[in-house]
Amino acid sequence: MAQQTFSGVPGEFTAGEVLSSSDQNLLRDFLIATIKEGMTGDTGEILPMIMDLTNNRIVLDSGGLEFSDGSTQTVAAAGMTWSGSTANGIGTYGSSSSIVAESTATYNGTTLQLTTSGGGLKLDGLNSSDVNTLDDYEEGTWQATCETGSGSITVNTSYDDGAYVKIGRAVFISGSFAISAISSPSGTLKLLGLPFPVGDLSVNAERSIINTSLFFTNGNMNGPAQGQTAAGQSYIAIDNLNGRAARQEAAAFIDTGSSINVGGWYYANA
C-alpha cells in the first residue's frame, strides 16, 4: 500500500486561532493519510490498525476490537477457528468460537434432511463390524443360469436378468426367467447367479425360503415350487412340494417355454 504524501508541517496553534487555508488543507491531508495508510512514527513503524480503503478492509496487526458507549468498553468476539484435521471434512460445534473437524459426527437434532435432488446417503460396502451400523446399500442386476442334476436347462438370454437391492446384509431379489431349451433335465434344480453369496452362520440360521413359482411346466408337477438358499452358495435350490412327502427335485418338471419366477430376500455373507 503506497504511502499518502503531503507537504509542509502545520505550525503550533493557539486557542481560538483561525487556521489559514493552507493549514486546513495540510491538516486534512494528514488526517486522510492517517486513516488511509496508518500513522507512521519517526521510526517508520506501522501502528497496529490500518484502514485499507483500497481493499475495503481494516487490518489489525495485533490486539482486537473494542467498542465503547462512552462509559463501558466491550471487547468484540474473536473470529471462529477450525480445530482438528480438515481432512475429514465434517465440521461440528466445538464452542462459541470454534468449529471442530470430526471423523465420526454426532447429530443431536431431530431431523437430518438432505434436500438436493440427485443426492442421498452413500453407503458403498463399508464393511463395518458393528451390528448396529448400516454399512452398505446397493441396487443392481444379476444374471441367472440353471444347473440340473443331469441333463440341462437353458435360460433365454433375453430374459435372464434379475434385480437386487442390498441393504446391509439383507439382499432382496426378484426376477422372471424364461427357459429356451432343455435336454432331459432331472434331479436337482438350481437357479445360479445370486448377486452375493449367502452367509454362513451356525445351525442353518442363514437359510431363507425364496418365493418361487414355475409356470408352463410339464404335466408331472404336482405341487407348489419352493426355493431355498444354502450357506455360502450363490444359488436357489428349487423343489416341488408334494403334501407331506419329502420334497421333489424339480428339474424334471421344466420344459421348453417354462418360466422360473423368484422374489424374496436372503442373508448375505457381508
Binding site: G140, P195, G232, N269
Partner: protein
C-alpha cells in the same frame, strides 16, 4: 454434448471361502460429468471357469484359487449337498 458409456469391473472382493464377488459398473458420462452408474453382480466360486471374465478378474482368480483352496471349497460344497440331500 458427448455421451459415452463404459463398462468396467469396479470391484473384486475375495471372500473367506475363496469366492470372488465381482461388481461390474456401467457408467454414462456427458462431457466428463457422470450422469448415471448402474451395477451388475456375479459370484465366482473356486474352480469356476473364468473364460470371458476380465483380465483382472482372471488374474485375481488365478492368484486366489490354489489347489488347496479349490479342494477345500469342493469338500465344503459336498458336505453342504449331503446335508441338503439328507433333508437337513
Amino acid at each position: 454434448m458427448a455421451l459415452t458409456k463404459t463398462v468396467e469391473v469396479d470391484r473384486i472382493e475375495v471372500l473367506q471361502l475363496g469366492q470372488l464377488q465381482v461388481r461390474t459398473a456401467t457408467i454414462v458420462v456427458d462431457d466428463g460429468a457422470e450422469l448415471a452408474r448402474s451395477f451388475h453382480r456375479q459370484v465366482l466360486n473356486p474352480g469356476d471357469d473364468t473364460t470371458g471374465q476380465s483380465d483382472r478378474v482372471a488374474a485375481v482368480a488365478a492368484a486366489t484359487w490354489t489347489d488347496a483352496v479349490v479342494a477345500d471349497w469342493n469338500a465344503w460344497v459336498a458336505e453342504q449337498e449331503a446335508a441338503r440331500a439328507a433333508g437337513q
